[in-house]
């Protein structure tokens, strides 16, 4: 395999990988504040793309994206408040089944609001033919947008968790909800906030990647599965590890087309997930206790 082909795979893998990472981070945020695996995570990317595409016809792109992000964030909040918040101590399994059901409902609602046609947001800069030269490979400038937006979100999130009071409160809540409550932290509001953040982040990533991979009403499911793979690979609950995991999964998936038929590309992430679950459920960076 030539060096530029390798580079091509790397760049393509890093691009999709960063999207997977964002989904994985979304899983981690909600998991660490509630212990729930929110299967609807993938739908947030879809909603971000769909809403922004619809709005982009009547307003500047930046405004469309901003509104889409906020609306999707609110959808996340709505889901949490309407379907999750009032359950008392639900079993883990019940919750994941509920979120799967919710993801189906969001999907189907989206199918009826828009339709099954594929849509794409306009390129944020340039158009579909522009390309930049990076280290000998040619890539679309949108790739830089995706990477940039993802990096920005991860950076902002890290700062938020480490240096703001609310962020630290969320970490406390994730670590020990009862103790947090005893310290006067309002855990229920933080849970709602975590859903907002996860949904909004997903939406922004969905908008960034829409020009490249298009947006379709049913893209959420496979994104959710791959995002979960990243979350587990990095260690469930470990936000920063999900980034590395996402990039790894993306690159492996991209590289796989050199050995597997293209149709099996999706199987790569699934196989990684099964391998991690079977052999090292705490992920590459997690501790045994966390996976119990």
């Amino acid at each position: 395999m030539g060096a530029d082909q390798l580079l091509q795979y790397l760049l393509s893998g890093v691009t999709t990988g960063s999207v997977y990472a964002i989904v994985g981070i979304g899983f981690n945020i909600i998991y660490s504040s509630t212990g729930i695996i929110n299967f609807a995570q993938g739908e947030f990317l879809m909603l971000g793309g769909m809403i922004s595409v619809s709005l982009s016809h009547s307003m500047p792109l930046a405004a469309a994206i901003a509104i889409a992000v906020i609306v999707t964030g609110l959808v996340g909040v709505l889901l949490q408040l309407a379907f999750i918040s009032w359950l008392k101590n639900p079993a883990v399994l019940r919750m994941i089944i509920i979120t799967i059901g919710l993801s189906i409902l969001v999907r189907e609602a989206s199918l009826h609001i828009w339709d099954e046609k594929v849509r794409a947001l306009p390129f944020w800069s340039g158009n579909e033919t522009s390309s930049l030269a990076v280290l000998g490979a040619r890539i679309s400038p949108q790739v830089l947008w995706v990477l940039g937006v993802s990096a920005l979100m991860v950076g902002a999130l890290t700062l938020f968790f480490r240096h703001t009071l609310t962020g630290r409160a969320m970490r406390a809540c994730a670590s020990n909800a009862t103790a947090a409550r005893l310290c006067g932290i309002r855990t229920s509001s933080l849970v709602t906030l975590s859903f907002f953040i996860a949904a909004a982040m997903g939406a922004l990533a969905g908008c960034a990647v829409s020009p490249l991979t298009q947006t379709q009403y049913d893209m959420g499911t496979s994104l959710a599965v791959k995002g979960f793979t990243c979350a587990v690979l990095g260690g469930l609950g470990n936000v920063t590890a999900a980034v590395a995991a996402g990039l790894l999964v993306g690159v492996l998936e991209a590289a796989s087309i050199s050995v597997l038929p293209l149709a099996y590309k999706d199987v790569v992430a699934l196989a990684i997930m099964l391998a991690i679950l079977f052999f090292r459920p705490e992920g590459l960076f997690g501790s045994r206790a966390a996976s119990e």
């Binding site: 101590n89 079993a91 399994l93 089944i97 189906i104 409902l105 149709a263 679950l277 079977f278 459920p281």
Partner: protein, 318 residues
């Protein structure tokens, strides 16, 4: 024995429905009723797994597809290349399903909670993608022109109009027998062991129950139910498509079992028969998937015990 009431009731209803439809000249409905039977078999097997062994499978459509595609390939491509008695493709399909279930069951059943759920989901996805990507399985077009199979005593497993009544009874007899087996199993030492595992795995082990082996056995059994359903439906429909392995189908089966009450095979059969039939008739129109999604969410939120029974695993404990 009052535990056999559901079995007898089912047999009675099956016969009554056929006679009624014959009387009102609506025998065309038998086709969808027959199809419902085969989908109900999957739900029935899943009921044993979820309701009694307390495990979950979000990929059971995968086993349905394995059963179906195996017999489809053997009856078309393989039959053209080799010669063997056509009816052999049915046990081959069931065997293939059992083997796959055994092989993936060993590692998968060591997982718990959402890891188990996601692993089974991944399994279903993998089956689905492999089917879509492989020429032998017809990729997106599936396999068609699958011939019927001549069974014993002049019975033929096929979708031909003139043999409709016969096939309706073949299908529902399979379901009735499946229900009979389920009821028997539940009332036996094995059934108690499964319920013990569901109640408290550690205590069950201390009583001498080999938890791992039992879980695997029920997993394989539930997969076999699905494989039988898939294999038979293929010959009835004369074909199969990749949608049968999809996540939406798997979720549908879970919804049916949840609604029927995971501890109630009779309830599962009833709910599954009715809802699947309505779905096949197009009663839910464009909202088909949404209906099952809503059913699942609704049941899980408000009645995790299902409409008919009990399900401790979904109550508030980890």
């Amino acid at each position: 024995m009052k535990r056999y009431a559901p079995v007898l009731l089912l047999a009675a209803v099956v016969v009554a429905v056929q006679l009624l439809l014959g009387a009102v000249k609506s025998e065309f409905l038998l086709t969808q009723l027959t199809m419902s039977a085969y989908y109900t078999l999957v739900a029935l097997g899943l009921c044993l797994l979820m309701g009694y062994a307390g495990q979950v499978s979000l990929g059971h459509a995968g086993f349905f597809a394995i059963g179906g595609y195996t017999t489809a390939v053997l009856s078309t491509a393989a039959a053209a290349a080799f010669s063997f008695a056509p009816w052999l493709s049915l046990p081959a399909a069931v065997a293939a399903t059992a083997v796959v279930a055994f092989v993936i069951g060993v590692p998968v059943l060591r997982l718990r909670g959402h890891y188990l759920a996601m692993a089974t989901l991944a399994f279903g996805f993998i089956v689905s993608r492999v089917i879509l990507g492989t020429a032998l399985f017809g990729q997106a077009d599936g396999i068609s022109d699958v011939p019927g199979i001549r069974l014993f005593a002049g019975l033929v497993l096929t979708g031909k109009r003139n043999l409709r009544v016969q096939n309706y009874y073949i299908a529902w007899t399979l379901v009735t027998v499946g229900l009979l087996f389920a009821v028997n199993l539940i009332g036996s030492r094995v059934g108690r062991a499964l319920r013990a595992i569901h109640g408290n795995e550690e205590a069950a082990a201390a009583m001498g129950i080999d938890v791992g082996r039992y879980k695997l056995a029920v997993f394989v059994l539930s997969a076999v139910y699905a494989g039988v359903g898939g294999a038979c439906l293929v010959h009835f429909n004369a074909g199969i498509g990749p949608g049968e392995a999809g996540v939406m189908k798997s979720v549908r089966y879970v919804a049916l079992v949840a609604a029927g009450g995971m501890g109630s095979p009779g309830g599962t059969v009833a709910v599954s028969a009715v809802l699947t039939f309505l779905s096949l008739r197009g009663a839910f129109g464009l909202y088909d998937d949404a209906v099952f999604g809503a059913l699942l969410v609704g049941i899980m939120l408000f009645a995790p015990d299902g409409l008919f029974g009990l399900v401790p695993a979904l109550r508030g404990r980890r």
